[in-house]
């Protein structure tokens, strides 16, 4: 990766915040690239996982937080398992996902992935468990024209097999789950707007 640096582009406060959440210095990484070599979705990334760690090392906040890479990451932990320096690149990706939400810079190209996570979580917040049919409806209705026709056939074939069930399973103490969601809500840290 070729980067041109100037002093104004380096955000060391941000870099230190990533390192604080990570629990160690990003300089631990010596850019061997083993993480990206084993990453099953590296083919989808402009900045594969070692390059994302590099962006942290260089304090390039904007590029890192606006990237698609952390959203197409499948969290399979292959990179962290193979890292010879225990940098835990999978955790770096998770931290970048959290921060992109806090800064309002979730990559617009991967809004499907983000919406699906949010639909999933709103189902958990509401029932304490996942209600698959509700989750699918909620996700599709956010963009009905684009998402509506997708997987129709798969859905029909599932229904013939009695999947998924029609009714939600609600736990008794849903209030406790709702309070967990409130107490762990991410702080919106700035007035940045998404692209």
């Amino acid at each position: 990766m070729r980067l041109q640096l100037s002093r104004g582009q380096v955000d060391s406060d941000w870099k230190h915040e990533v390192e604080r959440r990570l629990g160690h210095k990003s300089a631990e990484c010596y850019q061997c690239g083993k993480c990206s070599a084993g990453c099953p979705v590296a083919y989808e990334m402009f900045h594969p996982v070692h390059a994302m760690v590099r962006l942290v090392q260089l304090g390039r906040m904007d590029e890192a937080l606006r990237s698609r890479s952390q959203w197409v990451c499948v969290a399979c932990e292959t990179c962290s398992t193979r890292c010879p320096k225990d940098v835990d690149p999978a955790r770096v990706m998770t931290i970048l996902r959290e921060m992109a939400q806090e800064h309002g810079t979730v990559n617009a190209n991967e809004i499907d992935i983000y919406d699906f996570h949010q639909s999933f979580l709103s189902s958990v917040a509401r029932f304490g468990r996942v209600y698959e049919l509700g989750l699918v409806a909620f996700y599709k209705l956010k963009r009905p024209f684009k998402r509506g026709p997708q997987d129709m056939l798969t859905g029909l074939r599932m229904m013939r097999r009695g999947k998924p069930g029609l009714l939600p399973h609600k736990i008794q103490n849903v209030a406790a789950i709702r309070r967990i969601f409130e107490r762990t809500r991410l702080a919106k840290s700035s007035d940045r707007k998404p692209d």
Binding site: P40, V41, Y43, E44, V72, V74, A75, C76, E77, T78, S80, T81, A90, T94, R97, E98, Q101, D112, I113, D115, F116, H117, Q118, F120, L121, V124, G128, R129, V130, E132, V136, Y139, Q150, D151, T154, R157, M158, R160, R161, G162, K163, P164, G165, L166, H169, I171, Q172, N173, A176, I177, R179, I180, F181, R183, T184, L186
Partner: protein, 305 residues
């Protein structure tokens, strides 16, 4: 033997992976294990919480761990490795970091002392392999299978602490005990795309296509899995996966749960193990085992083809 049980959303009632729940219940019952579901458990947050908010996923899982602890269980069986991984990771993190524990306890309004050990079905059966060997009523004929562990059975290694992260062998050994013939192959721990099944089904098709092609190359007649996400992705998207891999025809590779194979070796029928609700027709596999195929399921599969 009584065992704390965290079924998770995928296995519960009529979710997508209802086969896994049905087969696990039936197989463990005939093994003599009593599954005792912990009360009022909540979703582990799966990939959505883990992907977007670490404090949330930790608090959700500490609540479940605290419930299991209060109910008096040490071992907590979580047959879905995604649930097991989230439980193990939360367990590991709160033991290492008192601040994380305090925060999670406060959010979950529960006290957790760290006495629970969440385990996957592979781990449980592997630890009980002598019991399995004693209890099985027949050896399955030596069908060639590829054992697919998926990414999360052994990772992250400091949290799961079980088997090898690159070349795991426990599922292969269990299949061997059941009489199956596990093959050497390349994609034991490659990711199937897990939670992207709706939002980025193209990624799932690409990744499962690689796995299915590798299994085919190894000469497998079926793939054995122990994860509802792996099963859903491998079983439901074989057409798209074949198209993505540039193959003319569908893989038609039966994807069998470990719990189903175990149940068959314990003498249960294919109906009791819900082998008829798969997308890919399993009747050839069942017939090779000497069982009666399910005509309704086979007809449905033929019609959809």
């Amino acid at each position: 033997m009584k065992l704390g049980y965290y079924p998770g959303c995928a296995l519960k009632a009529h979710a997508t992976s209802l086969e896994y729940g049905i087969a696990t219940d039936a197989a463990l019952k005939s093994l003599g294990v009593e599954l005792s579901e912990i009360p009022d458990w909540n979703c582990c947050g799966a990939s959505a919480a883990h992907m977007t908010n670490l404090d949330l996923t930790r608090a959700l899982n500490v609540r479940n761990l605290a419930i299991a602890e209060a109910a008096g269980y040490t071992d907590l069986l979580a047959p879905c490795p995604l649930c097991a991984k989230e439980l193990c990771l939360a367990n590991h993190e709160v033991k290492e970091d008192p601040k994380a524990l305090a925060k999670a306890q406060e959010a979950a309004e529960m006290v957790y002392r760290g006495t629970v050990r969440p385990i996957t079905l592979i781990q449980f059966l592997y630890e009980q392999r002598e019991l399995v060997q004693r209890k099985i009523t027949r050896k399955l004929p030596g069908i060639k299978v590829c054992c697919y562990y998926g990414c999360l059975h052994t990772r992250p290694k400091e949290a799961m602490g079980f088997d090898d992260t690159e070349q795991p062998v426990t599922l292969d050994q269990l299949c061997q005990i059941l009489g199956l013939e596990p093959l050497e192959w390349s994609h034991k721990v490659e990711c199937c795309g897990a939670g992207f099944t709706m939002s980025r089904s193209d990624i799932v098709a690409r990744l499962t296509g690689r796995i299915l092609a590798a299994a085919q190359l190894a000469g497998a007649e079926a793939i054995v899995v122990a994860c509802p996400m792996c099963h859903a992705n491998l079983d439901m998207r074989q057409g798209e996966a074949a198209a993505d891999a540039g193959l003319g025809k569908d893989f038609q590779m039966p994807i069998i749960y470990l719990a189903q194979a175990l149940g068959l070796a314990l003498g249960l029928t294919p109906e009791q193990l819900s082998l008829g609700t798969h997308f890919v027709d399993t009747s050839a596999f069942v017939q090779r085992l000497g069982g009666e195929p399910q005509p309704a399921a086979a007809a449905r599969a033929a019609e959809e083809k």
